[in-house]
Every structure is written in C-alpha cells, then in structure tokens.
C-alpha cells in the first residue's frame, strides 16, 4: 500500500506567494493494524536496527520531500 496521501489545498486569488497546489502526508501502516497477529515474518537484527522495526509489515520509509516541495513552489 502506498503510504503517501495527497490533497489539494485551496488557492486564494490574492495569495502573494506562489501557491503550493499539492500537499502530502504519510499514513504509517500501524494505523491499519488494530492488533498485531503473532508469528509475523521478521527482519534480521541488522536490518531491523537499520529500518527501525523488527517486522517488515510495520516498516514505514522516510523520504525527504523537501526538494520536491521546493521545485513545486518555484
């Protein structure tokens, strides 16, 4: 499932700045898992430390959208 959701904010006609037409937010997978089932597949300890979770199903990547936002604003 794609964890990024987007919405299009209202753009006022007198906005002095270039409008941001698309805003994004992240919905992490734990929101959709009310109770974790037992015996889920696991990452190796090294992988778990790197990704910040022991279970692949709960992994939520963080990718900076700073640059993307800037190019959109220009």
């Amino acid at each position: 499932m794609n964890q990024i959701r987007t919405w299009h904010p209202f753009v006022g006609p007198f906005d002095p700045c270039p409008p941001i037409t698309r805003k994004a937010y992240l919905v992490p997978p734990n929101l959709f898992i009310p109770y974790q089932p037992p015996n889920w597949p696991q990452f190796s300890p090294a992988e778990a430390l790197k990704r910040g979770t022991l279970w692949p199903a709960l992994y939520s990547p963080y990718e900076s959208r700073m640059l993307e936002g800037r190019s959109e604003g220009q």
């Binding site: 974790q36 037992p38 015996n39 090294a46 778990a48």
Partner: protein, 89 residues
C-alpha cells in the same frame, strides 16, 4: 591519564552487534507487553537475552565495563574513566 588503545575493528563489530540485539529486544519487549501468551516470541526473547549477555561479556572482558555500580565487572586497574566513551565512537 593514559590515552586508550585505538579500538580495533572487532570493537565496532561488537558494539554494532550489541546495538542490534538491544533493538530487537526492545521490539520484542513492546510486542510481548500486548502478546504475553506468544510462546515463540518469549523463547526468542530469552534466546536473544542470553546472546546479548554473551556478547556483553566478551565486550567487557576486552574493552572495559558497560555499566557501573556493580552491574559490570572491572578489570585491573580501574578503567571506567578510560576513553573512548560511548558518545565518542
């Protein structure tokens, strides 16, 4: 105070392994808080706790105590204050 011997590669490996084991133990702790009857997870937790103890013992015998106030043994001479300190590696 004498400068500590420059840590070798095994130092990094041991610390990394400790960090990885500690992280998995944290994850399993949180999981077991809500799943106290998951026998497999309890077994995994105990195995990892044992492994962590072994790794910590190897680390402490080579590089000095990880904990203070009697939770780790000290070598002679007393080397608690020797660098590198955790925030220096």
């Amino acid at each position: 105070m004498s400068a500590a011997k420059k840590p070798d590669e095994a130092y990094d490996q041991l610390l990394t392994e400790l960090q990885q084991l500690d992280f998995v133990l944290v994850e399993l702790t949180l999981y077991l808080d809500t799943h106290p009857y998951d026998m497999q997870a309890v077994q995994q937790f105990n195995q990892l706790a044992q492994r962590r103890r072994q790794v910590a013992q190897v680390y402490e015998s080579r590089y000095g105590p990880l904990l203070q106030f009697g939770h780790s043994y000290s070598r002679y001479p007393w080397d608690w204050a020797n660098t590198p300190w955790p925030w220096q590696v």
